[in-house]
């Protein structure tokens, strides 16, 4: 689709226009970070920071969502809650958008479709913003993403100096910038140059295929004990993660009336895997730590064909024990390769006997 030019003034007008027909969300400065908040004009947004405190996940998969209401003495009757309204999310970084693309796979890609997710997602338009200055915790290009990645987006804006190159990726994205002037060859060259520079500032590509192979055989490996020692098993990494999507359901009832609410859950909590029988297969902290790493680089590859770490770096930034998933991966690749090699050597020795 034709890439267009949107000046800052034009974007200001567009935001005002979008805000008339639905909610517009964008990063807004809060204390010394940014969070997605509803805005009515572009002036309220802060598009200069790399990553918001929480990812954009909560806008399509809220931390708490009422699914339906009920009366305790009327088990046959459930009252639907109102449909979510239309929303435009402006300033989504490519890693967050890639995260939403992963959520799309989980909730709507195969098997049962999650109606609650789907209806919100269908009414959400994602307007991305390319990164030109990654943070020291960013590593999207190391896990297959890009500072100008388009996965999950309807439209990608790239700041090329006082104006944006707008790349439509879906019809509804194209509709947003319909009538804007076409981007010129120098504009597009500038955009490519910025993306290249930003990618170069990040770590080398992680061999995720090799890692997946190693993890397939690493369930009982002693490395997990060692790696998990600093982990306090809080849920910070999972809640701020753009792709972690586990939820719990809870009924809140009062005077015969109730609501079924789903809330984010975390595999780091020992209650997550508590069985009704009293048995808990993942009681050990190391097992919980292992689960999250395995989920990102092994289980989701089996389920949806790609790793579910998008390299946003939030877990590195917010971990109270400064655990760095890049280091975890480094150690796993190094140590599991070694033990793999040792096992192979053992096999050969046995065969030669």
């Amino acid at each position: 689709m034709t890439q267009r030019i949107v000046t800052a003034a034009a974007l200001d007008k567009l935001v005002a226009e979008w805000a008339k027909s639905g909610a517009v969300y964008a990063p807004v400065k809060v204390k010394d970070w940014t969070e997605f908040r509803r805005i009515s004009s572009l002036a309220e947004a802060d598009l200069t920071r790399v990553n918001t405190k929480l990812s954009a996940k909560g806008l399509v998969f809220p931390q708490c969502e009422t699914m339906f209401r009920f009366e305790t003495n009327r088990p046959d009757k459930a009252e639907e809650v109102a449909q979510p309204g239309a929303q435009v999310v402006l300033g989504v970084r490519p890693c967050d958008a890639a995260g939403i693309a992963v959520l799309d796979e989980f909730f709507t890609g195969q098997g049962e479709t999650d109606a609650y997710y789907q209806r919100r997602r269908e009414r959400t338009v994602l307007v991305g913003l390319s990164c030109d200055a990654p943070a020291d915790t960013c590593f999207c290009s190391a896990v297959g993403g890009s500072p100008a990645g388009t996965s999950g987006l309807d439209l990608l804006l790239t700041d090329v100096g006082g104006k944006y190159v707008a790349e439509p990726l879906a019809d509804r994205g194209a509709a947003l910038v319909d009538g804007m002037p076409e981007a010129t060859a120098p504009d597009l060259a500038k955009k490519a140059e910025l993306a290249g520079k930003a990618a170069a500032a990040m770590a080398d590509r992680i061999d995720t295929r090799k890692l997946k192979g190693l993890l397939d055989a690493a369930d009982g490996h002693p490395i997990w004990e060692e790696l998990s020692l600093p982990c306090v098993n809080c849920g910070a990494c999972t809640f701020i993660c753009p792709t972690c999507h586990c939820f719990d359901m809870t009924d809140e009832t009062r005077k015969g009336k109730g609501a079924r609410i789903r809330v984010w859950d975390t595999c780091q909590s020992c209650m997550y895997s508590q069985h009704a029988s009293g048995h808990n297969p993942r009681l050990a902290p190391a097992a919980r730590f292992r689960n999250r790493t395995m989920d990102k680089f092994r289980y989701t590859v089996d389920m949806v064909g790609e790793v579910s770490c998008v390299g946003c770096g939030r877990c590195i930034r917010e971990c109270p024990a400064a655990i760095d998933i890049r280091e975890t991966v480094d150690v796993l690749l190094r140590q599991l390769s070694q033990s793999d090699a040792m096992q192979n050597a053992d096999c050969k020795m046995q065969k030669s006997k």
Binding site: W33, C234, I240, T250, P320, A321, A322, D324, E327
Partner: protein, 279 residues
């Protein structure tokens, strides 16, 4: 010998002599400028240890998790040592299973600034230790009472100030998990039969969590600030901690984490209690 050289030397010796099975300290994290807890078990790894003003996490929180391994040596600042006193008092660790390596602390830095909790620290040096790795740090002049503004507010305004802050809570429980006081096998927050507190992030649920946690900290919290620094959402948890500690000091004359033999302020009975109802 520098503090860090002394730390590495003693860690190496304690492990080589099999006095301890693990030295709990700090090491540089992969991210430039960050440190993380280190769990050193081999003498040759002792050189990984560092100690400086980035070492803010309260290592006492790990003791109940690693105590089954055997005797542990732990690097302790003033606040860490007070948390250890709390764990001893509550019989969570045994004194003879610890080797406390004390360090004088000049305060923890966050983004180049003195961490909020450290601005009111009255105990920069260990209150209990087996050996000091450094000289005592100079006593710090505590900042003006950070509660002064808060206490000027009306009860409604106070409620609103706390509510505005905890509205950001995502209930990840990082505050609970990094806290040396929070070692319960099942937290009241996780209990499901009955479920004491709602699981949503509605204002009432968030406030309930933070107020109940504050009550559970009364007479126990040493105001180390690890929860405030660990909170991914930047909630001012020290406001709760300071207020509760202040009330306990005023009403019970007790300061947490100073004396392992002193009964816990809110878990002891005194027939001479000045409150009528308790007699």
């Amino acid at each position: 010998m520098s503090r860090e050289a002394q730390l590495r030397k003693r860690a190496r010796e304690l492990l080589a002599d099999k006095c301890v099975v693990m030295v709990l300290g700090y090491r540089p994290a992969k991210r430039e400028g960050a440190v993380q807890p280190a769990f050193i078990t081999r003498p040759e790894d002792a050189d990984a240890l560092v100690f400086d003003d980035r070492c803010g996490m309260n290592l006492a929180a790990y003791l109940p998790r690693v105590k089954h391994l055997g005797r542990i040596a732990v690097v302790a600042k003033g606040c860490d040592s007070r948390s250890i006193v709390g764990l001893l008092k509550e019989k969570q660790v045994a004194r003879d299973q610890l080797v406390i390596l004390g360090v004088g602390c000049e305060g923890v830095k966050e983004n180049g600034r003195l961490s909020d909790a450290c601005t009111t620290c009255a105990y920069p040096n260990p209150v209990i230790c087996d050996e000091m790795l450094s000289d005592n740090a100079p006593e710090r002049k505590p900042a003006a009472d950070p509660l002064a503004e808060f206490e000027k507010l009306t009860p409604d305004e106070r409620w609103q100030a706390l509510a505005d802050d905890v509205a950001r809570c995502i209930r990840c429980y990082a505050c609970r998990q990094v806290c040396p006081n929070c070692y319960c096998p099942t937290c009241f927050m996780d209990a499901s039969g009955p479920q004491w507190v709602g699981k949503t992030t509605a204002d009432s649920d968030n406030m309930m969590f933070h107020l109940m946690r504050a009550m559970h900290m009364a007479g126990r919290c040493v105001e180390c600030g690890t929860c405030s620094r660990g909170c991914p959402m930047g909630i001012d948890l020290m406001k709760f901690n300071r207020k509760v500690a202040k009330i306990v000091k005023e009403r019970f004359g007790a300061v947490a984490g100073l004396d392992p033999d002193e009964p816990p302020a809110l878990a002891a009975f005194d027939p001479n209690d000045k409150q009528e109802f308790i007699r």
